[in-house]
Amino acid sequence: MRIAVPVREDKGWDSLIDERFGRGAFFAIYDTDKDSLEIIENTAKDVASGAGRQAVQLLSDNNVDVVIAYEVGPKSKDTLDALGIDAYKLDNFNMSVKEVIDLYNNNKLQKV
């Protein structure tokens, strides 16, 4: 399974969460099967409109199954639903990818 988290920087497991989903700078993608983390640039972040939807497309292209974010807008949520990607919500964005994945692994996150 592949889990994506919007992050504001490319610092591996220490990357801090970006509070924005569609316009976040990067996505950290954790592959649970391979136990590997990759950081990809969010190519949708600067589009004039519909960044969230295009970010979802990017994640779908990267075979993402789950998104964990501080905030997912209604249009992004509709698109995630339609493309069959689950979304989980963070209560705060002041943490690293490592902390987020730990929360997820310990079932501490709420599904949107």
């Binding site: 949708a44 519909g50 939807r53 295009q54 497309q57 779908s60 075979n63 339609a82 069959g84």
Partner: protein, 284 residues
């Protein structure tokens, strides 16, 4: 002949100038008025009359045949506006993002895409009590593509212009696609501004656009007795003609807030707008 009334900043008096100017010119020439500010039209509040026709503005959007689609994703990659998203199991179309270019159908190797129509707004034709025709567009709430309605309005004004009418077009503010599409190809532009830092800064952007489009223009300075002299220094330095000046006056607000045209009631304002019209004529 087509004259567009523009402003850089919103709220400088673009509709105030265009409606009063139209009322003055209508006494001398055959005019048709267009409100191209389809996101926030309000000229219709000043031109009382009878709406005689209402036509929907339709645009196309793609429909994907799921039986034919193999989810290759080419359509999604082609669309620059995120109008078509391809997942692992299905394709999603976002009609509001579609610009109707037809590209997704062209790149589809499975012939799975057809187009269908939906309406995004309407154009209303009114016979005004002042004796001229008036067209205004309204973009439905939630829609993005104001230019689809603006282009239809421009097609109508082009027709009237060819028949010898003087078309006066109230433009959306700023230099976005909506303003650009409104002003492209007109014969003259009246740029309304005010002597404030915001007014000057945004006016300069519009001036750049008009120069790019090679359109002749002049400036009307509204609330001329407020603010600073900076706007005059700039216009003088650039050699840009000032078509008229209108001082801030509470009386203007009184008439405007009631949806009345002050130039038809108050002689001094009739004179101000007549002078603006004469100045435009000299530059045409």
């Amino acid at each position: 002949m087509q004259i567009a009334i523009l402003s850089g900043k919103g709220g400088v008096g673009k509709t105030f100038v265009s409606t009063n100017l139209a009322a003055i010119i209508a006494k001398k020439e055959k005019i048709v008025f267009f409100d191209n500010d389809v996101e926030e039209p309000n000229s219709h509040l000043f031109f009382k009359g009878k709406d005689i026709k209402e036509e929907k503005v339709n645009v196309i959007y793609p429909v994907v045949d799921e039986n034919k689609c193999d989810l290759c994703g080419e359509c999604g990659k082609f669309c620059q506006f995120g109008g078509i998203l391809v997942g692992k199991k299905k394709v999603i179309v976002i009609p509001q993002s579609c610009h109707g270019c037809g590209g997704c159908k062209m790149v589809c190797s499975r012939d799975a895409i057809e187009y269908t129509e939906r309406d995004i707004g309407k154009i209303i034709e009114r016979d005004t009590d002042l004796g001229f025709k008036f067209y205004y567009g309204i973009l439905n709430i939630g829609e993005l593509a104001a230019t689809d309605i603006i282009k239809d309005l421009r097609a109508i004004s082009n027709e009237y212009s060819q028949k010898g009418y003087l078309c006066i077009i109230d433009s959306p503010p700023g230099t976005s696609c909506s303003a650009y599409n409104t002003v492209e190809g007109v014969d003259f532009a009246v740029l309304v501004s005010e002597p404030t830092p915001f007014g000057i800064s945004d006016m300069k952007l519009v001036i750049e656009m008009l120069k790019e489009l090679d359109i002749k223009f002049g400036v009307v300075i509204n609330r001329a007795n407020l603010g600073s002299r900076e706007i005059y220094d700039y216009l003088n330095k650039e050699g840009i003609p000032i078509l008229g000046e209108i001082n801030f006056d509470k009386l203007i607000v009184d008439y405007y807030s009631k949806g009345e045209l002050i130039s038809t009631y108050i002689k001094s304002y009739n004179e101000i707008f007549t002078a603006i019209y004469n100045n435009i004529k000299e530059l045409l």
